[in-house]
């Protein structure tokens, strides 16, 4: 196993450069994890919207009831009934919704006539629907009691409405122990792993392949009784060992950062995904190592490939923020599919067939990249051999 041993001696000689990438990766991920874990997410917190409530009608139990109901879920801000002031209040977000009860509203409502409440909102406000729902819920309930409970006093109806609307549905969060920060950290860790893996593998593998590809050494090795097949086998074993060791070293950090989570199904999927990506990155590194001839070119290619694919695939910038055309280009790299899987796995709660098929489908695509790139490399090396 002379070639295999020489492989790792060359790696050790280049360890300085490789360690830079590993140390940067570990520092960045550990720092982000340790510094950014304070914002706990408890699952659901009700927020109160600021609204203005203007009553142009006479005081009545119906309008007072509506006001009280809204007060439970919103902050009613006092704003003068002046068009300019109301517009300013909306513009400066002092209020997001203005409810105006028109004159004669209560009377018409009790007489079962068609009535409407005037509303003014910030355009495209998502909270508008929420307030609409609150108002509609109150008025619909009131309408039901007025229509079908003849003879009930206003106070009785009001107390019934309040009782009905006080009923709540209990909601259980699907991942009660987790928080958004942790989910983001896991996704970030494994996404950033792509860059570190790529950089380390390209540097390591191409350093060795360049040495064995030097014409004088190549010819010298060809003069030896070592069969070409055995030499290639030892090189491949060396490459795969180096890739697996790198993957273990980098991904094992995940165990220190995320503990027992890494033994969960999510953690195992993360590991499997990163292992398959490692092989895809190894195949690209192997291709580069066979094509690149100088140290300078190797460093340039390392930066272009590792950084370039990371940028267009959503390693540094979330895929949601990348344009469609960038993502389309990114989808021609294994990094893209790796990141898609990481983001899915990070948020995976329900291990449905649909989700798992999607994840394993992406893993297959990555494996396809590996097979295709290795085939291209073999074709190139064979062509070179025969053209000599």
């Amino acid at each position: 196993m002379q070639v295999f041993k020489a492989f790792f001696k060359i790696i050790v000689k280049n360890l300085g450069q490789i360690l830079i990438y590993i140390v940067v990766f570990l520092s960045v991920t550990v720092a982000l994890t340790k510094l950014n874990n304070t914002a706990d997410y408890t699952g659901f917190t009700e927020t109160k919207v600021n609204i203005a409530f203007i009553n142009n009608d006479e005081d009545s139990w119906l309008v007072e009831g509506l006001r009280n109901q809204l007060l439970k879920h919103t902050n009613i801000i006092s704003v003068d009934d002046d068009t300019r002031k109301l517009q300013d209040a909306l513009f400066f977000r002092e209020v997001e919704y203005i409810v105006r009860i028109p004159h004669g509203f209560a009377e018409k409502f009790l007489n079962k006539e068609d009535v409407t409440i005037e509303k003014t909102t910030i355009p495209n406000s998502s909270r508008e629907i929420y307030i609409d729902m609150l108002i509609n819920k109150y008025l619909n309930t009131a309408k039901a009691y007025i229509s079908y409970s003849d003879g009930l006093s206003g106070e009785t109806i009001l107390s019934q409405i309040e009782k009905d609307l006080a009923q709540e549905t209990k909601v259980s969060m699907a991942f009660p122990t987790d928080n958004i920060t942790l989910i983001e950290q896991r996704a970030f860790f494994f996404n950033y792993l792509a860059y570190a893996l790529f950089a380390v593998l390209i540097l390591g593998v191409s350093s060795v392949m360049m040495v064995f590809g030097k014409p004088d050494l190549k010819r010298r090795n060809l003069c030896s009784p070592l069969r070409q097949r055995e030499m290639n086998f030892q090189l491949i074993i060396g490459n795969v060992s180096f890739a697996v060791i790198t993957w273990l070293l980098l991904s094992i950090t995940g165990f220190f950062l995320f503990g027992s989570y890494m033994l969960s199904l999510n953690g195992l999927l993360f590991m499997l995904n990163s292992l398959l990506f490692t092989f895809a990155a190894l195949s690209i590194s192997f291709l580069i190592g066979n094509v690149v001839k100088t140290q300078n070119a190797m460093h340039a290619v390392t930066n272009v490939v590792a950084l370039g694919t990371s940028f267009i695939s959503g390693v540094f910038v979330p895929q949601d923020l990348l344009s469609e055309s960038v993502l389309r280009i990114g989808s021609f790299t294994p990094t893209y599919w790796y990141v898609v899987n990481n983001n899915t796995i990070a948020n995976l709660v329900n291990f449905s067939t649909e989700k798992l098929v999607s994840i394993f489908g992406n893993m297959l695509i990555m494996s396809g990249f590996t097979a295709a790139i290795i085939s291209i490399t073999l074709v190139i090396t064979k062509q070179r051999r025969t053209s000599n």
């Binding site: 002379q2 020489a6 050494l217 030896s224 070592l226 070409q228």
Partner: protein
């Protein structure tokens, strides 16, 4: 016969690098392949080692057709390339161990062989050095150690002394003679005629991909008409002296190089005495006098019409 090359032809497009080259290397000899740069020596070696495909001819090593997968033959060959072929990332010891390990799997035996090779080329003090820290001469010695550590029966050295200091050169040449005395057959290529003359038992002179002459150095020198080269220091230089010298018997050429009169003669007796008699008759004072027998360069010059180092 260790190596038998017959009618070897290698073309690079229109350029004929080897033109029906034939040679035979016998067991136990040091066979020198002498020729100027570009004469085809390295191409011939590469073909013999199956590193290059050739267009025509046959190559047999140890009686068998040489081919890229003739691993049992390769096991018996040690190769020292023209360019130093070692790993910059491995130490001197690790390099020798790597190349020896391609031939010898047994660790214990290998260690012994590596130590012997280190001792043989005299680089014991540098075993932990990386090649880039070595001088040109030491690097060449490392290259040789890598090629001979497994104790091959046939050692092919392709210009092993290029860009080497005199001390290392002597060390290398002495080492080759020792290897030969220990039983190894040597195929040695060089464009340094002095080296080839010093160590080779048989020599083939190459030019333009062809063997133009071969034999022992005495046989080669016997093939030409050139006799000795006479050099006489004169205290007076006059063109009439040249005319007079050229009229002497057996003299082929005469010229001044500063105050040195350089005369070439064909084979014959008493050429130096006749020249000195002539100078005395002209009352010309003479300083130092040298008489040198013909060299391989003279052989090359007479056959090709050009200097070996042109």
């Amino acid at each position: 016969m260790v190596i038998k090359v017959k009618n070897l032809v290698k073309r690079y497009g229109d350029l004929i690098a080897l033109d029906h080259l034939s040679l035979e290397v016998k067991e136990g000899e040091i066979f020198g392949l002498l020729g100027p740069n570009g004469s085809g020596k390295t191409t011939a070696i590469n073909c013999i080692l199956s590193l290059l495909k050739y267009d025509k001819g046959t190559i047999e090593v140890y009686g068998r057709q040489m081919s890229p997968d003739a691993y049992d033959i390769k096991r018996r060959i040690g190769i020292i390339m023209q360019n130093v072929a070692v790993f910059d990332e491995l130490t001197v010891y690790e390099n020798i161990d790597y190349f020896c390990g391609l031939y010898v799997r047994d660790k214990k035996r290998r260690k012994q062989l590596v130590d012997e090779a280190i001792e043989f080329v005299g680089i014991k003090d540098f075993v932990k050095f990386y090649p880039k820290k070595l001088s040109g001469g030491l690097l060449r010695r490392l290259n040789i150690a890598c090629g001979i550590a497994h104790k091959p029966d046939l050692i092919i050295l392709d210009e092993p002394t290029v860009a080497v200091d005199p001390q290392s050169r002597n060390n290398i040449l002495e080492g080759i003679k020792r290897l030969n005395s220990e039983g190894a057959t040597i195929l040695y290529t060089s464009h340094y005629m002095e080296e080839v003359e010093e160590i080779c038992t048989r020599i083939a002179i190459m030019d333009k991909g062809k063997i133009i002459a071969s034999g022992t150095k005495e046989e080669l020198k016997g093939m030409i008409n050139s006799g000795e080269r006479l050099t006489v220091e004169l205290f007076k230089t006059d063109s009439s002296i040249i005319d007079g010298v050229l009229n002497l018997p057996n003299i082929v050429s005469a010229e001044f190089d500063g105050n040195l009169l350089i005369v070439r003669s064909i084979k014959g007796k008493n050429n130096l005495l006749k020249l000195l008699d002539y100078l005395k008759s002209r009352d010309i004072d003479v300083g130092k006098v040298y008489s040198e027998p013909p060299t391989l360069n003279d052989v090359f010059l007479e056959i090709t019409g050009k200097e070996l180092r042109d």
